[in-house]
């Protein structure tokens, strides 16, 4: 295997080292072929010779009988690009030509980049999707073709948009819906589809409100169920800060939400002012009675 590769590379190198090639009148080479398609090359002359096909990322060598047709089966040349074809005979004479391998026209694979994977609800153009269309041999298909983007929200509503690719790429931006949950973001083209999942999470707390009740020597502080401005429950673990100011001193506790509410017991100081906040959102204020 190594020897074959070395021989092939040596041939390719020898071919590259030639100063110039004339298009041989007797060499018949197809101008373009689809990636992976079968094709043939007709040479001229007589006797034994070698045929080289060299392009970026792929090189082939065949020992041929000059003047006959050389057949290449399906899958022989699969990397899209420009290839040089050279036929050398035993006498040292060389003929050359070129062919282009173009991607298959039918998509076989979509590389779908959906960003972000998590975002707040109700964000205009917050979700972007970009699709790269590839053929079966992972060649980017530059020909324009329609790509359908469909975003199905957690409550079933769907936003859909069709965009034509340019140079193999299509992209779009869609809004996140007001309801938290998991979106299915699907891109389809030519019977091929790719799916991504987008998490829509609640926004900042809205109307943060707490209540206070005596608990022995302490005061028990508890928020109402914390929701964002669209009514989604803010997830557990979100930090709620309770601050109690009294006699020039201050007590603070950062409490994570648990089952939708934050709850803590703090020392009861008569006349204390108690506030609640989450991030940069302020809630109500309570003055603890004397």
């Amino acid at each position: 295997m190594k020897a074959a590769r070395a021989s092939l590379l040596a041939g390719a190198a020898a071919f590259m080292a030639l100063p110039a090639f004339a298009q041989g009148g007797g060499l018949t080479v197809p101008k373009t072929i689809e990636a992976g398609a079968a094709f043939s090359i007709q040479s001229s002359g007589s006797g034994k010779g070698s045929l080289y096909i060299v392009g970026i990322g792929q090189a082939l060598k065949r020992d041929i009988q000059l003047g006959e047709t050389t057949w290449f089966p399906v899958g022989s040349l699969y990397n899209a690009g420009h290839y040089m074809v050279v036929v050398t005979g035993d006498g040292g004479a060389a003929e050359s030509g070129s062919l282009d391998v173009v991607p298959e026209s039918k998509p076989a694979d979509l590389s779908f980049l959906a960003r972000p994977s998590r975002l707040p609800v109700g964000l205009h153009d917050g979700i972007t999707g970009a699709v790269y269309v590839f053929d079966a041999y992972k060649n980017l298909i530059p020909a324009s073709m329609p790509v359908e983007f469909a975003l199905a929200g957690p409550s079933g509503e769907t936003q859909s948009r069709t965009v034509n690719t340019r140079y193999g790429v299509a992209w779009t931006a869609l809004d996140s819906t007001p309801k938290q949950g998991t979106d299915k973001f699907v891109a389809r083209s030519g019977g091929v589809s790719s799916e991504r999942v987008i998490g829509q999470v609640p926004g900042d707390p809205c109307g943060l409100k707490m209540s206070a009740a005596p608990a022995g020597k302490d005061v028990r502080l508890q928020t109402d169920p914390v929701r964002d401005c669209s009514g989604n429950a803010v997830p557990d673990g979100t930090i709620v800060t309770f601050t109690e100011a009294y006699n020039g001193a201050q007590s603070t506790v950062d409490v994570p939400l648990k089952r939708g509410i934050a709850q803590v017991e703090m020392p009861a100081h008569p006349g204390a002012t108690i506030t609640v906040a989450s991030g940069v959102i302020l809630g109500n204020q309570i003055r603890w009675g004397r």
């Binding site: 790269y132 991504r196 999470v201 673990g237 506790v253 648990k258």
Partner: protein
């Protein structure tokens, strides 16, 4: 040429001679610090000498000698004595040593005296000081320290139910398609930032908010830019920040640029960094009775109360100080060098620079906690 060779020869010979003298007749301090017998300690002929000898033995971790020198050693064991100094539970002092000591006489009579002993610890995050007021008594012709032994705090047996949220993360695999999604980095935002000029350079202060619904490991980098946006210096917040931010949590940050001048700075490029990490919402630590104490010796004092059931080994307290318009004027911090036991108050005392103390009208305190063997 010849003179130079002569000078080199003389210097070489002198060096060899001095090394030989130092090796054969080392000074007692050098011998002791090299692990030899510590014969250099003077007799405990005064209360200060007794306290200093005890302090030196603590520096050398000569626990046996230190314990044997105590007047009240019958009241506790040697291990109790060691634990009293280094901590009963793993904490900041467990991973550090005493660098040096200072002794200050407070009061003395013919037969007893009071002396203050200051132990200066060397840790990876600074040099905390612990102070003990020692009672020293005369015993014949020498003085002995009565160690002010602090008994181990016992947490009463109890069950503290803890069911706070925990976040685990599964990242994308190495073999995934390049277009495949990975977990999104947490969204964080700088909600306040401004530079100030201090005597030792420029300081950039501010606050960072985790506006996401997942925990974030965060840090902030600032680049000072001069004319034409030429970078003058880049520094990070290092430990002057609470690195783990739970959802909607805010941390202050402070970035120092030693020897920089604000007059050279035309703009500042801020680069917040965040990454998703597994984390737990536990432990919850209450900051109780936090007070701003005015100058002189301006400070923020208060107590930390660990409301969870596990021991917090190291607590890092960060104070954010605001002026009367709500802008951050200073950020200061302190590592508490005692482990936080459940429901057991532990004091903190954060120094505020004298010149800034007059501008401070309010504060906000946050605590970063580290539990041995735990996650972030």
């Amino acid at each position: 040429m010849r003179k130079g060779a002569l000078l080199a020869g003389v210097l070489g010979a002198a060096t060899v001679a001095l090394v030989a003298i130092g090796t054969i007749w080392p000074i007692p301090e050098a011998k002791a610090y090299a692990g030899g017998q510590s014969t250099f300690m003077p007799r405990s002929s005064t209360p200060e000498a007794a306290a200093r000898n005890l302090g030196d033995e603590i520096v050398l971790q000569a626990w046996q000698k230190a314990y044997d020198s105590l007047a009240n050693k019958g009241e506790f064991t040697q291990q109790d004595f060691i634990d009293d100094i280094t901590g009963y539970y793993p904490n900041l002092r467990s991973y550090s040593s005493v660098d040096h000591i200072e002794v200050f006489p407070l009061h003395a009579t013919a037969n007893d005296a009071d002396v203050q002993l200051k132990l200066y610890w060397a840790t990876v995050v600074g040099a905390p000081v612990s102070t003990r007021d020692l009672h020293v008594v005369r015993n014949g012709d020498r003085w002995q320290v009565e160690w002010p032994f602090v008994k181990k705090t016992i947490v009463p047996p109890q069950v503290i139910p803890v069911n706070y949220l925990r976040w685990d993360v599964i990242y994308r695999g190495a073999g995934d398609d390049w277009g495949a999604q990975d977990v999104e980095a947490p969204h964080v935002r700088i909600v306040d930032m401004h530079p100030i000029q201090r005597a030792d350079g420029v300081v950039v202060l501010g606050e960072l908010l985790n506006e996401d619904v997942v925990p974030a490991y965060v840090s902030v980098t600032a680049t000072l830019q001069g004319e034409n946006q030429v970078a003058l210096a880049t520094e990070g917040s290092f430990d002057k920040i609470c690195h783990l931010l739970l959802p909607k949590q805010v941390t202050p940050f402070l970035i120092s640029f030693p020897d920089a001048s604000l007059s050279d700075v035309k703009s500042i490029k801020m680069t917040p960094f965040s990454t998703l990490v597994p984390a737990s919402a536990d432990p919850v630590i209450e900051i109780d009775n936090a007070k701003l104490n005015p100058a002189p010796d301006a400070s923020l004092t208060g107590q930390l109360i660990n409301q969870s059931g596990q021991v917090v080994n190291v607590a890092h307290v960060l104070g954010t100080f605001y002026d009367n318009t709500g802008h951050v004027v200073w950020v200061a911090d302190q590592y508490v060098d005692h482990a936080l036991l459940p429901q057991t108050p532990e004091s903190f005392d954060i120094h505020i620079p004298e010149d800034l103390a007059r501008k401070v009208s309010s504060q906000r305190t946050v605590v970063a906690s580290y539990v041995a063997g735990g996650a972030l």
